[in-house]
Amino acid sequence: MDTLGLLNYAIFMGVLIGIYALLSLGLNVQWGYAGLFNAGVAGFFAVGAYLSALFTAPPVPDRIMGWELPTGVGWFAAMAAAALIAWPIGKVTLRFRSDYLAIATIGVAEIIRLVLRTEDLLSGGVRGITGIPRPFGDLPYEWSQLAYLGLTWGMVVVIYWALERQLAAPWGRMMRAIRENELAAAAMGKNVEARRLEAFILGAAIMGLAGAVYVHFMRAITPEAIDPMMVTFLVWIMLILGGSGNNRGAILGAVIIWVIWSSSELLTDRLPAEIATQAKYIRVFVIGLMLQLVLRWRPEGLLPEGTHVRRSS
Protein backbone atom coordinates (compact mmCIF):
# COMPACT_ATOMS: atom_id res chain seq x y z
CA MET A 1 0.00 0.00 0.00
CA ASP A 2 1.29 3.46 -0.87
CA THR A 3 1.12 6.39 1.51
CA LEU A 4 -2.17 7.61 0.18
CA GLY A 5 -3.69 4.17 0.42
CA LEU A 6 -2.42 3.87 3.96
CA LEU A 7 -3.88 7.24 4.83
CA ASN A 8 -7.22 6.30 3.32
CA TYR A 9 -7.20 3.10 5.30
CA ALA A 10 -6.41 5.00 8.49
CA ILE A 11 -9.31 7.38 7.87
CA PHE A 12 -11.62 4.48 7.18
CA MET A 13 -10.54 2.86 10.42
CA GLY A 14 -10.97 6.15 12.23
CA VAL A 15 -14.58 6.43 11.16
CA LEU A 16 -15.37 2.87 12.21
CA ILE A 17 -13.68 3.42 15.55
CA GLY A 18 -15.79 6.52 16.04
CA ILE A 19 -18.94 4.50 15.30
CA TYR A 20 -17.93 1.85 17.79
CA ALA A 21 -17.08 4.56 20.29
CA LEU A 22 -20.66 5.78 19.97
CA LEU A 23 -21.95 2.26 20.56
CA SER A 24 -19.67 1.89 23.53
CA LEU A 25 -20.86 5.20 24.98
CA GLY A 26 -24.46 4.10 24.52
CA LEU A 27 -23.76 0.84 26.28
CA ASN A 28 -21.99 2.71 29.05
CA VAL A 29 -25.18 4.61 29.80
CA GLN A 30 -26.98 1.29 30.17
CA TRP A 31 -24.36 -0.86 31.83
CA GLY A 32 -21.89 1.58 33.32
CA TYR A 33 -24.45 3.96 34.79
CA ALA A 34 -27.44 1.74 35.38
CA GLY A 35 -26.09 -1.83 35.52
CA LEU A 36 -28.38 -3.00 32.69
CA PHE A 37 -27.26 -5.91 30.56
CA ASN A 38 -28.19 -5.25 26.94
CA ALA A 39 -27.24 -8.30 24.89
CA GLY A 40 -28.87 -6.94 21.74
CA VAL A 41 -26.68 -3.93 20.95
CA ALA A 42 -26.60 -4.97 17.30
CA GLY A 43 -30.39 -4.85 17.11
CA PHE A 44 -30.59 -1.20 18.06
CA PHE A 45 -27.66 -0.46 15.76
CA ALA A 46 -29.44 -2.16 12.86
CA VAL A 47 -32.71 -0.35 13.50
CA GLY A 48 -30.90 2.98 13.45
CA ALA A 49 -29.05 2.08 10.27
CA TYR A 50 -32.14 0.93 8.40
CA LEU A 51 -34.38 3.72 9.50
CA SER A 52 -31.99 6.46 8.57
CA ALA A 53 -31.34 4.73 5.24
CA LEU A 54 -35.05 4.46 4.43
CA PHE A 55 -35.65 8.08 5.34
CA THR A 56 -32.90 9.42 3.14
CA ALA A 57 -32.35 7.02 0.23
CA PRO A 58 -34.08 7.51 -3.13
CA PRO A 59 -37.31 5.56 -3.67
CA VAL A 60 -37.18 2.17 -5.34
CA PRO A 61 -40.07 0.01 -6.54
CA ASP A 62 -40.82 -2.97 -4.27
CA ARG A 63 -39.48 -1.20 -1.24
CA ILE A 64 -41.21 1.13 1.17
CA MET A 65 -40.22 4.69 1.98
CA GLY A 66 -37.17 6.15 0.26
CA TRP A 67 -38.17 9.66 1.11
CA GLU A 68 -34.93 11.43 0.27
CA LEU A 69 -35.14 13.50 3.43
CA PRO A 70 -32.12 15.36 4.78
CA THR A 71 -29.56 13.23 6.59
CA GLY A 72 -30.18 15.02 9.87
CA VAL A 73 -33.80 13.91 9.80
CA GLY A 74 -32.66 10.36 9.19
CA TRP A 75 -30.33 10.46 12.17
CA PHE A 76 -33.00 11.83 14.39
CA ALA A 77 -35.43 9.16 13.21
CA ALA A 78 -32.79 6.51 13.89
CA MET A 79 -32.46 7.60 17.49
CA ALA A 80 -36.21 7.86 17.94
CA ALA A 81 -36.83 4.40 16.48
CA ALA A 82 -34.21 2.72 18.66
CA ALA A 83 -35.63 4.48 21.70
CA LEU A 84 -39.13 3.45 20.75
CA ILE A 85 -38.13 -0.19 20.60
CA ALA A 86 -36.24 0.03 23.87
CA TRP A 87 -39.14 1.53 25.74
CA PRO A 88 -41.60 -1.42 25.86
CA ILE A 89 -38.79 -3.94 26.38
CA GLY A 90 -37.45 -1.98 29.31
CA LYS A 91 -40.93 -1.38 30.64
CA VAL A 92 -41.65 -5.10 30.80
CA THR A 93 -38.30 -6.43 32.01
CA LEU A 94 -36.79 -3.78 34.25
CA ARG A 95 -39.01 -4.81 37.14
CA PHE A 96 -36.85 -7.91 37.37
CA ARG A 97 -33.16 -8.61 37.65
CA SER A 98 -31.04 -7.60 34.69
CA ASP A 99 -30.90 -11.23 33.46
CA TYR A 100 -34.42 -10.88 32.13
CA LEU A 101 -33.52 -7.75 30.22
CA ALA A 102 -30.57 -9.58 28.72
CA ILE A 103 -32.79 -12.43 27.53
CA ALA A 104 -35.32 -10.02 26.09
CA THR A 105 -32.68 -7.99 24.26
CA ILE A 106 -31.26 -11.15 22.70
CA GLY A 107 -34.78 -11.84 21.51
CA VAL A 108 -35.26 -8.35 20.12
CA ALA A 109 -31.99 -8.48 18.22
CA GLU A 110 -32.87 -11.86 16.74
CA ILE A 111 -36.31 -10.68 15.69
CA ILE A 112 -34.95 -7.54 14.09
CA ARG A 113 -32.57 -9.75 12.15
CA LEU A 114 -35.43 -12.05 11.11
CA VAL A 115 -37.55 -9.14 9.96
CA LEU A 116 -34.75 -7.66 7.90
CA ARG A 117 -33.99 -10.99 6.28
CA THR A 118 -37.62 -11.77 5.59
CA GLU A 119 -39.24 -8.50 4.63
CA ASP A 120 -37.83 -7.45 1.27
CA LEU A 121 -40.25 -4.52 1.27
CA LEU A 122 -38.21 -3.09 4.10
CA SER A 123 -34.70 -4.15 3.36
CA GLY A 124 -34.70 -4.13 -0.43
CA GLY A 125 -34.08 -7.87 -0.62
CA VAL A 126 -30.79 -9.13 -1.99
CA ARG A 127 -29.93 -5.76 -3.49
CA GLY A 128 -30.23 -4.15 -0.09
CA ILE A 129 -30.58 -0.40 0.14
CA THR A 130 -28.24 1.66 -1.99
CA GLY A 131 -27.75 5.28 -2.86
CA ILE A 132 -27.85 6.40 0.75
CA PRO A 133 -26.58 9.98 0.77
CA ARG A 134 -23.48 10.87 2.68
CA PRO A 135 -22.84 14.29 4.15
CA PHE A 136 -19.92 15.84 2.25
CA GLY A 137 -20.41 13.08 -0.27
CA ASP A 138 -19.94 15.46 -3.18
CA LEU A 139 -16.37 16.28 -2.25
CA PRO A 140 -13.49 14.43 -3.88
CA TYR A 141 -13.03 10.98 -2.38
CA GLU A 142 -10.23 11.73 0.09
CA TRP A 143 -11.79 14.94 1.29
CA SER A 144 -15.14 13.34 1.63
CA GLN A 145 -13.67 10.58 3.77
CA LEU A 146 -11.78 13.08 5.86
CA ALA A 147 -14.87 15.25 6.35
CA TYR A 148 -16.89 12.25 7.43
CA LEU A 149 -14.19 11.33 9.91
CA GLY A 150 -14.55 14.81 11.36
CA LEU A 151 -18.32 14.49 11.46
CA THR A 152 -18.20 11.10 13.17
CA TRP A 153 -15.79 12.21 15.84
CA GLY A 154 -17.75 15.42 16.18
CA MET A 155 -20.71 13.27 17.13
CA VAL A 156 -18.56 11.30 19.56
CA VAL A 157 -17.45 14.53 21.25
CA VAL A 158 -20.99 15.91 21.39
CA ILE A 159 -22.37 12.71 22.90
CA TYR A 160 -19.45 12.46 25.30
CA TRP A 161 -19.97 16.01 26.46
CA ALA A 162 -23.73 15.57 26.82
CA LEU A 163 -23.28 12.38 28.82
CA GLU A 164 -20.71 13.93 31.11
CA ARG A 165 -23.09 16.78 31.83
CA GLN A 166 -25.89 14.37 32.46
CA LEU A 167 -23.70 12.33 34.77
CA ALA A 168 -22.74 15.36 36.83
CA ALA A 169 -26.38 16.39 37.13
CA PRO A 170 -28.66 14.98 39.86
CA TRP A 171 -29.81 12.37 37.36
CA GLY A 172 -26.30 10.92 37.14
CA ARG A 173 -25.79 10.98 40.87
CA MET A 174 -29.03 9.15 41.39
CA MET A 175 -28.05 6.59 38.74
CA ARG A 176 -24.86 5.84 40.62
CA ALA A 177 -26.67 5.61 43.93
CA ILE A 178 -29.09 3.11 42.42
CA ARG A 179 -26.30 0.98 41.06
CA GLU A 180 -24.24 1.04 44.24
CA ASN A 181 -27.08 0.05 46.48
CA GLU A 182 -30.26 -0.96 44.79
CA LEU A 183 -32.05 -1.74 48.03
CA ALA A 184 -31.30 1.59 49.64
CA ALA A 185 -32.17 3.39 46.43
CA ALA A 186 -35.44 1.53 46.10
CA ALA A 187 -36.31 2.71 49.58
CA MET A 188 -35.98 6.24 48.22
CA GLY A 189 -39.03 5.62 46.09
CA LYS A 190 -40.44 4.03 43.04
CA ASN A 191 -38.24 6.24 40.90
CA VAL A 192 -35.55 3.60 40.53
CA GLU A 193 -37.41 1.80 37.79
CA ALA A 194 -38.08 5.03 35.93
CA ARG A 195 -34.41 6.09 36.10
CA ARG A 196 -33.23 2.75 34.80
CA LEU A 197 -35.77 2.86 32.00
CA GLU A 198 -34.49 6.30 31.05
CA ALA A 199 -30.94 5.04 30.99
CA PHE A 200 -31.92 2.08 28.84
CA ILE A 201 -33.78 4.25 26.35
CA LEU A 202 -31.06 6.88 26.20
CA GLY A 203 -28.40 4.25 25.60
CA ALA A 204 -30.50 2.63 22.87
CA ALA A 205 -30.98 5.97 21.13
CA ILE A 206 -27.21 6.49 21.02
CA MET A 207 -26.81 3.01 19.54
CA GLY A 208 -29.41 3.90 16.92
CA LEU A 209 -27.43 7.01 16.10
CA ALA A 210 -24.31 4.91 15.68
CA GLY A 211 -26.20 2.78 13.18
CA ALA A 212 -27.20 5.86 11.23
CA VAL A 213 -23.67 7.22 11.18
CA TYR A 214 -22.52 3.84 9.91
CA VAL A 215 -25.03 3.51 7.12
CA HIS A 216 -24.37 6.97 5.69
CA PHE A 217 -20.69 6.18 5.68
CA MET A 218 -21.17 2.90 3.84
CA ARG A 219 -23.89 4.35 1.56
CA ALA A 220 -25.47 0.92 1.24
CA ILE A 221 -26.64 -1.83 3.51
CA THR A 222 -27.79 -5.43 3.34
CA PRO A 223 -29.10 -7.60 6.18
CA GLU A 224 -25.86 -9.60 6.11
CA ALA A 225 -23.73 -6.53 6.73
CA ILE A 226 -24.36 -6.71 10.45
CA ASP A 227 -23.30 -9.86 12.30
CA PRO A 228 -25.38 -9.41 15.44
CA MET A 229 -23.36 -11.41 17.92
CA MET A 230 -20.08 -9.98 16.72
CA VAL A 231 -21.18 -6.36 16.92
CA THR A 232 -22.77 -6.84 20.32
CA PHE A 233 -19.85 -8.70 21.67
CA LEU A 234 -17.19 -6.36 20.39
CA VAL A 235 -18.96 -3.42 21.99
CA TRP A 236 -19.22 -5.26 25.27
CA ILE A 237 -15.59 -6.05 25.43
CA MET A 238 -14.70 -2.51 24.40
CA LEU A 239 -16.64 -1.12 27.32
CA ILE A 240 -15.47 -3.66 29.88
CA LEU A 241 -11.85 -3.35 28.87
CA GLY A 242 -11.96 0.42 28.67
CA GLY A 243 -13.66 0.78 32.00
CA SER A 244 -17.41 0.62 32.49
CA GLY A 245 -18.86 3.69 34.10
CA ASN A 246 -16.18 5.87 32.57
CA ASN A 247 -17.01 7.55 29.27
CA ARG A 248 -13.37 8.06 28.39
CA GLY A 249 -12.80 4.40 29.11
CA ALA A 250 -15.64 3.53 26.74
CA ILE A 251 -13.93 5.47 23.95
CA LEU A 252 -10.48 4.15 24.77
CA GLY A 253 -11.80 0.58 24.75
CA ALA A 254 -13.33 1.14 21.31
CA VAL A 255 -10.00 2.33 19.94
CA ILE A 256 -7.96 -0.53 21.41
CA ILE A 257 -10.33 -3.36 20.57
CA TRP A 258 -11.06 -2.15 17.06
CA VAL A 259 -7.37 -1.83 16.29
CA ILE A 260 -6.71 -5.34 17.61
CA TRP A 261 -9.76 -6.74 15.86
CA SER A 262 -9.08 -5.29 12.43
CA SER A 263 -5.34 -5.83 12.48
CA SER A 264 -6.00 -9.47 13.28
CA GLU A 265 -8.28 -9.44 10.25
CA LEU A 266 -5.42 -8.09 8.14
CA LEU A 267 -3.30 -10.95 9.37
CA THR A 268 -5.82 -13.70 8.75
CA ASP A 269 -6.61 -12.33 5.29
CA ARG A 270 -3.09 -13.16 4.30
CA LEU A 271 -3.37 -16.79 5.30
CA PRO A 272 -3.93 -19.44 2.66
CA ALA A 273 -7.59 -19.94 1.91
CA GLU A 274 -7.83 -23.39 3.56
CA ILE A 275 -6.97 -22.05 6.98
CA ALA A 276 -8.28 -18.53 6.52
CA THR A 277 -11.87 -19.51 7.32
CA GLN A 278 -10.77 -21.35 10.43
CA ALA A 279 -8.69 -18.37 11.46
CA LYS A 280 -11.83 -16.29 11.32
CA TYR A 281 -13.43 -18.45 13.99
CA ILE A 282 -10.28 -18.52 16.05
CA ARG A 283 -10.43 -14.74 16.16
CA VAL A 284 -13.93 -14.98 17.57
CA PHE A 285 -12.69 -17.45 20.13
CA VAL A 286 -9.91 -15.11 21.17
CA ILE A 287 -12.37 -12.24 21.61
CA GLY A 288 -14.52 -14.43 23.84
CA LEU A 289 -11.45 -15.46 25.79
CA MET A 290 -10.37 -11.87 26.13
CA LEU A 291 -13.62 -11.00 27.85
CA GLN A 292 -13.01 -13.80 30.34
CA LEU A 293 -9.51 -12.56 31.02
CA VAL A 294 -10.64 -8.99 31.56
CA LEU A 295 -13.45 -10.12 33.86
CA ARG A 296 -10.96 -12.13 35.80
CA TRP A 297 -7.89 -9.93 35.98
CA ARG A 298 -9.04 -6.39 35.35
CA PRO A 299 -12.77 -6.20 35.99
CA GLU A 300 -12.65 -2.44 36.55
CA GLY A 301 -11.11 -1.88 33.11
CA LEU A 302 -8.19 0.27 32.03
CA LEU A 303 -9.82 3.51 33.15
CA PRO A 304 -11.80 2.63 36.24
CA GLU A 305 -14.88 4.67 36.94
CA GLY A 306 -13.58 6.63 39.91
CA THR A 307 -10.40 7.98 38.37
CA HIS A 308 -11.83 10.59 36.15
CA VAL A 309 -14.80 11.62 38.24
CA ARG A 310 -12.48 12.34 41.14
CA ARG A 311 -10.07 14.33 39.06
CA SER A 312 -12.71 16.60 37.65
CA SER A 313 -14.51 17.25 40.91
Binding site: V92, G107, W236, Q292
Partner: protein, 290 residues
Protein backbone atom coordinates in the same frame (compact mmCIF):
# COMPACT_ATOMS: atom_id res chain seq x y z
CA UNK B 1 -57.36 -29.74 6.92
CA UNK B 2 -58.40 -32.83 8.78
CA UNK B 3 -57.67 -33.34 12.45
CA UNK B 4 -55.23 -36.08 11.59
CA UNK B 5 -53.32 -33.80 9.26
CA UNK B 6 -53.17 -31.16 11.94
CA UNK B 7 -51.68 -33.71 14.29
CA UNK B 8 -49.24 -35.18 11.79
CA UNK B 9 -47.96 -31.92 10.36
CA UNK B 10 -48.11 -29.61 13.35
CA UNK B 11 -48.72 -31.31 16.66
CA UNK B 12 -46.18 -34.11 16.35
CA UNK B 13 -43.37 -31.85 15.12
CA UNK B 14 -44.37 -29.41 17.84
CA UNK B 15 -44.08 -32.05 20.51
CA UNK B 16 -40.72 -33.17 19.14
CA UNK B 17 -39.20 -29.73 19.24
CA UNK B 18 -41.04 -29.17 22.51
CA UNK B 19 -39.29 -32.16 24.10
CA UNK B 20 -35.99 -30.85 22.82
CA UNK B 21 -36.64 -27.39 24.28
CA UNK B 22 -37.69 -29.06 27.51
CA UNK B 23 -34.35 -30.85 27.84
CA UNK B 24 -32.52 -27.56 27.38
CA UNK B 25 -34.92 -25.61 29.57
CA UNK B 26 -34.44 -28.01 32.48
CA UNK B 27 -30.75 -27.15 32.63
CA UNK B 28 -31.49 -23.45 32.30
CA UNK B 29 -34.10 -23.57 35.05
CA UNK B 30 -31.84 -25.54 37.40
CA UNK B 31 -28.95 -23.13 36.88
CA UNK B 32 -31.24 -20.12 37.20
CA UNK B 33 -32.82 -21.57 40.34
CA UNK B 34 -29.78 -22.97 42.13
CA UNK B 35 -26.84 -20.88 40.92
CA UNK B 36 -29.06 -17.86 40.27
CA UNK B 37 -27.99 -16.62 36.90
CA UNK B 38 -29.15 -16.88 33.31
CA UNK B 39 -26.77 -19.17 31.44
CA UNK B 40 -26.43 -17.92 27.90
CA UNK B 41 -23.98 -20.57 26.78
CA UNK B 42 -26.61 -23.24 27.18
CA UNK B 43 -27.64 -23.33 23.55
CA UNK B 44 -24.07 -23.60 22.38
CA UNK B 45 -23.44 -26.29 24.96
CA UNK B 46 -26.21 -28.21 23.21
CA UNK B 47 -24.48 -27.58 19.89
CA UNK B 48 -21.25 -28.91 21.31
CA UNK B 49 -22.99 -32.04 22.60
CA UNK B 50 -24.53 -32.67 19.19
CA UNK B 51 -21.17 -32.33 17.45
CA UNK B 52 -19.36 -34.48 20.00
CA UNK B 53 -21.86 -37.22 19.16
CA UNK B 54 -21.22 -36.56 15.49
CA UNK B 55 -17.50 -36.91 16.10
CA UNK B 56 -18.04 -40.26 17.81
CA UNK B 57 -20.27 -41.45 14.99
CA UNK B 58 -17.72 -40.39 12.41
CA UNK B 59 -14.48 -41.47 14.04
CA UNK B 60 -15.52 -44.64 15.87
CA UNK B 61 -18.31 -45.59 13.48
CA UNK B 62 -20.70 -45.83 16.41
CA UNK B 63 -24.42 -45.85 16.01
CA UNK B 64 -25.79 -42.41 16.91
CA UNK B 65 -27.80 -43.99 19.71
CA UNK B 66 -24.64 -45.39 21.27
CA UNK B 67 -22.86 -42.09 20.78
CA UNK B 68 -25.61 -40.19 22.64
CA UNK B 69 -24.83 -41.32 26.20
CA UNK B 70 -21.10 -40.87 25.64
CA UNK B 71 -21.65 -37.38 24.26
CA UNK B 72 -23.83 -36.59 27.27
CA UNK B 73 -21.06 -37.68 29.63
CA UNK B 74 -18.42 -35.69 27.76
CA UNK B 75 -20.56 -32.56 27.65
CA UNK B 76 -21.32 -32.92 31.35
CA UNK B 77 -17.60 -32.97 32.01
CA UNK B 78 -17.08 -29.94 29.78
CA UNK B 79 -19.83 -28.12 31.68
CA UNK B 80 -18.12 -28.81 35.00
CA UNK B 81 -14.80 -27.58 33.64
CA UNK B 82 -16.34 -24.44 32.13
CA UNK B 83 -17.89 -23.63 35.49
CA UNK B 84 -14.61 -24.21 37.25
CA UNK B 85 -12.58 -22.07 34.82
CA UNK B 86 -14.94 -19.28 33.79
CA UNK B 87 -17.79 -18.93 36.27
CA UNK B 88 -16.64 -19.97 39.71
CA UNK B 89 -14.25 -17.08 40.29
CA UNK B 90 -17.15 -14.67 39.75
CA UNK B 91 -19.20 -16.31 42.49
CA UNK B 92 -18.89 -13.48 45.00
CA UNK B 93 -19.39 -10.70 42.43
CA UNK B 94 -22.72 -9.47 41.06
CA UNK B 95 -24.42 -12.35 39.25
CA UNK B 96 -24.82 -10.34 36.08
CA UNK B 97 -21.07 -10.65 35.48
CA UNK B 98 -21.47 -14.41 35.29
CA UNK B 99 -24.27 -13.89 32.80
CA UNK B 100 -21.86 -11.84 30.75
CA UNK B 101 -19.11 -14.41 31.06
CA UNK B 102 -21.56 -17.05 29.84
CA UNK B 103 -22.23 -14.99 26.72
CA UNK B 104 -18.50 -15.05 26.08
CA UNK B 105 -18.39 -18.79 26.67
CA UNK B 106 -21.23 -19.19 24.17
CA UNK B 107 -19.12 -17.49 21.56
CA UNK B 108 -16.07 -19.56 22.44
CA UNK B 109 -17.91 -22.88 22.33
CA UNK B 110 -19.41 -22.02 18.97
CA UNK B 111 -16.11 -21.06 17.45
CA UNK B 112 -14.52 -24.27 18.72
CA UNK B 113 -17.26 -26.24 16.97
CA UNK B 114 -16.79 -24.15 13.82
CA UNK B 115 -13.05 -24.71 13.77
CA UNK B 116 -13.23 -28.43 14.45
CA UNK B 117 -16.25 -29.41 12.38
CA UNK B 118 -16.66 -26.56 9.92
CA UNK B 119 -19.77 -24.52 9.26
CA UNK B 120 -21.53 -26.69 6.67
CA UNK B 121 -24.67 -28.47 7.86
CA UNK B 122 -24.15 -32.15 8.63
CA UNK B 123 -26.23 -35.19 9.49
CA UNK B 124 -25.69 -38.27 11.67
CA UNK B 125 -26.73 -40.64 8.94
CA UNK B 126 -27.82 -40.14 5.39
CA UNK B 127 -30.83 -41.65 3.73
CA UNK B 128 -34.51 -40.95 4.06
CA UNK B 129 -36.41 -42.42 6.95
CA UNK B 130 -40.00 -43.07 6.09
CA UNK B 131 -42.70 -42.39 8.65
CA UNK B 132 -44.83 -45.35 9.59
CA UNK B 133 -48.52 -45.16 10.13
CA UNK B 134 -49.89 -45.95 13.57
CA UNK B 135 -53.60 -45.87 12.90
CA UNK B 136 -53.18 -42.73 10.82
CA UNK B 137 -50.53 -41.15 13.06
CA UNK B 138 -47.38 -40.80 11.02
CA UNK B 139 -44.29 -41.30 13.13
CA UNK B 140 -40.65 -41.96 12.39
CA UNK B 141 -38.74 -44.28 14.66
CA UNK B 142 -36.33 -41.50 15.61
CA UNK B 143 -39.29 -39.42 16.71
CA UNK B 144 -40.53 -42.20 18.93
CA UNK B 145 -37.07 -42.60 20.40
CA UNK B 146 -36.84 -38.86 20.97
CA UNK B 147 -40.09 -38.90 22.93
CA UNK B 148 -39.21 -41.99 24.86
CA UNK B 149 -35.70 -40.89 25.77
CA UNK B 150 -36.76 -37.39 26.74
CA UNK B 151 -39.55 -38.78 28.89
CA UNK B 152 -37.18 -41.27 30.48
CA UNK B 153 -34.60 -38.61 31.26
CA UNK B 154 -37.18 -36.31 32.77
CA UNK B 155 -38.72 -39.02 34.94
CA UNK B 156 -35.30 -40.14 36.07
CA UNK B 157 -34.31 -36.59 37.00
CA UNK B 158 -37.54 -35.96 38.86
CA UNK B 159 -37.16 -39.14 40.85
CA UNK B 160 -33.57 -38.19 41.61
CA UNK B 161 -34.58 -34.76 42.88
CA UNK B 162 -37.43 -36.15 44.88
CA UNK B 163 -36.03 -39.21 46.54
CA UNK B 164 -32.25 -39.05 46.80
CA UNK B 165 -30.12 -37.29 49.37
CA UNK B 166 -28.28 -35.17 46.82
CA UNK B 167 -31.44 -34.48 44.87
CA UNK B 168 -32.94 -33.04 48.03
CA UNK B 169 -29.76 -31.07 48.64
CA UNK B 170 -30.17 -29.51 45.19
CA UNK B 171 -33.75 -28.57 45.93
CA UNK B 172 -32.75 -27.20 49.31
CA UNK B 173 -30.06 -25.09 47.68
CA UNK B 174 -32.55 -23.73 45.20
CA UNK B 175 -35.11 -23.07 47.94
CA UNK B 176 -32.95 -21.46 50.62
CA UNK B 177 -29.20 -21.47 50.00
CA UNK B 178 -28.27 -19.96 53.37
CA UNK B 179 -30.17 -22.57 55.29
CA UNK B 180 -28.86 -25.35 53.07
CA UNK B 181 -25.35 -24.28 53.98
CA UNK B 182 -26.28 -24.27 57.67
CA UNK B 183 -27.44 -27.84 57.22
CA UNK B 184 -23.97 -28.72 56.00
CA UNK B 185 -24.79 -28.96 52.29
CA UNK B 186 -21.60 -28.51 50.33
CA UNK B 187 -22.18 -25.67 47.95
CA UNK B 188 -19.49 -26.79 45.56
CA UNK B 189 -20.74 -30.34 45.29
CA UNK B 190 -24.24 -29.15 44.50
CA UNK B 191 -22.88 -26.75 41.90
CA UNK B 192 -20.92 -29.52 40.25
CA UNK B 193 -23.89 -31.84 40.26
CA UNK B 194 -26.06 -29.14 38.72
CA UNK B 195 -23.59 -28.73 35.88
CA UNK B 196 -23.36 -32.45 35.28
CA UNK B 197 -27.14 -32.66 34.89
CA UNK B 198 -27.44 -29.45 32.86
CA UNK B 199 -24.55 -30.40 30.58
CA UNK B 200 -25.81 -33.92 29.93
CA UNK B 201 -29.34 -32.76 29.19
CA UNK B 202 -28.08 -29.96 26.95
CA UNK B 203 -26.12 -32.52 24.95
CA UNK B 204 -29.24 -34.67 24.64
CA UNK B 205 -31.20 -31.64 23.43
CA UNK B 206 -28.54 -30.87 20.84
CA UNK B 207 -28.39 -34.48 19.72
CA UNK B 208 -32.14 -34.76 19.23
CA UNK B 209 -32.21 -31.47 17.43
CA UNK B 210 -29.52 -32.80 15.13
CA UNK B 211 -31.05 -36.20 14.51
CA UNK B 212 -34.52 -34.83 13.80
CA UNK B 213 -33.27 -32.12 11.44
CA UNK B 214 -29.59 -31.49 10.79
CA UNK B 215 -26.56 -30.24 12.63
CA UNK B 216 -25.37 -26.71 12.14
CA UNK B 217 -23.22 -24.52 14.30
CA UNK B 218 -25.99 -22.02 15.04
CA UNK B 219 -28.56 -24.62 16.05
CA UNK B 220 -28.13 -24.20 19.79
CA UNK B 221 -27.98 -20.45 19.77
CA UNK B 222 -31.17 -20.33 17.71
CA UNK B 223 -32.93 -22.52 20.27
CA UNK B 224 -31.70 -20.51 23.27
CA UNK B 225 -34.56 -18.03 23.29
CA UNK B 226 -37.15 -20.82 23.13
CA UNK B 227 -35.41 -22.62 25.98
CA UNK B 228 -35.38 -19.51 28.16
CA UNK B 229 -38.98 -18.78 27.31
CA UNK B 230 -39.85 -22.36 28.31
CA UNK B 231 -38.00 -22.09 31.61
CA UNK B 232 -39.65 -18.80 32.54
CA UNK B 233 -43.06 -19.89 31.31
CA UNK B 234 -42.90 -22.98 33.50
CA UNK B 235 -41.49 -21.12 36.49
CA UNK B 236 -37.80 -20.64 37.23
CA UNK B 237 -36.41 -23.52 39.28
CA UNK B 238 -39.26 -25.90 38.36
CA UNK B 239 -38.28 -28.97 36.40
CA UNK B 240 -41.90 -29.91 35.68
CA UNK B 241 -42.41 -26.30 34.62
CA UNK B 242 -39.54 -26.47 32.15
CA UNK B 243 -41.08 -29.59 30.61
CA UNK B 244 -44.53 -28.09 30.26
CA UNK B 245 -43.05 -24.79 29.11
CA UNK B 246 -40.92 -26.54 26.49
CA UNK B 247 -43.87 -28.49 25.10
CA UNK B 248 -46.05 -25.37 24.98
CA UNK B 249 -43.39 -23.35 23.20
CA UNK B 250 -42.72 -26.16 20.73
CA UNK B 251 -46.39 -26.57 19.94
CA UNK B 252 -47.12 -22.87 19.62
CA UNK B 253 -44.12 -22.42 17.34
CA UNK B 254 -45.33 -25.12 14.98
CA UNK B 255 -48.94 -23.98 15.07
CA UNK B 256 -47.92 -20.36 14.48
CA UNK B 257 -47.04 -21.38 10.95
CA UNK B 258 -50.78 -21.60 10.28
CA UNK B 259 -51.12 -17.86 10.71
CA UNK B 260 -47.62 -16.40 10.34
CA UNK B 261 -44.85 -16.74 7.75
CA UNK B 262 -42.72 -19.65 8.88
CA UNK B 263 -39.63 -17.46 9.16
CA UNK B 264 -41.21 -15.90 12.23
CA UNK B 265 -41.56 -19.19 14.09
CA UNK B 266 -38.93 -18.28 16.61
CA UNK B 267 -40.52 -14.91 17.28
CA UNK B 268 -43.43 -16.68 18.96
CA UNK B 269 -41.15 -17.80 21.79
CA UNK B 270 -40.25 -14.17 22.34
CA UNK B 271 -43.88 -13.10 22.37
CA UNK B 272 -44.72 -15.77 24.92
CA UNK B 273 -41.76 -14.69 27.04
CA UNK B 274 -42.90 -11.07 27.11
CA UNK B 275 -46.52 -12.06 27.80
CA UNK B 276 -45.62 -14.30 30.71
CA UNK B 277 -43.40 -11.59 32.21
CA UNK B 278 -46.33 -9.19 31.95
CA UNK B 279 -49.04 -11.46 33.23
CA UNK B 280 -47.46 -14.01 35.53
CA UNK B 281 -43.71 -13.61 35.96
CA UNK B 282 -43.51 -16.51 38.42
CA UNK B 283 -44.65 -18.81 35.60
CA UNK B 284 -47.19 -21.60 35.50
CA UNK B 285 -45.71 -23.56 38.41
CA UNK B 286 -44.93 -20.61 40.67
CA UNK B 287 -41.20 -20.52 40.29
CA UNK B 288 -38.76 -17.89 41.42
CA UNK B 289 -38.71 -14.36 40.14
CA UNK B 290 -35.22 -12.97 40.36
Amino acid sequence: MSGLELINFYVIPGLISGSIYALGAIGITLIFGILRYAHFAHGDMATLGAYVALGLVGSLALSPWVALPIAMAITALVAVVLDRVFYRHLETRPKILTVMASLGVALMLRSVVQVVWGVDPQVYSTGIVRAESYGGLMLRSRELITFATATGLVLFLMAFLRYTRWGKAMRAMSDNPELARLCGVNNEAVTRLTWVIAGALAAAAGFFLGINTELNTMMGWSALLAMFAAAILGGVGRVEGAVVGGLVIGLVEELSVLVLPSQYKMATAFVILILILLVRPQGIFKGKVL
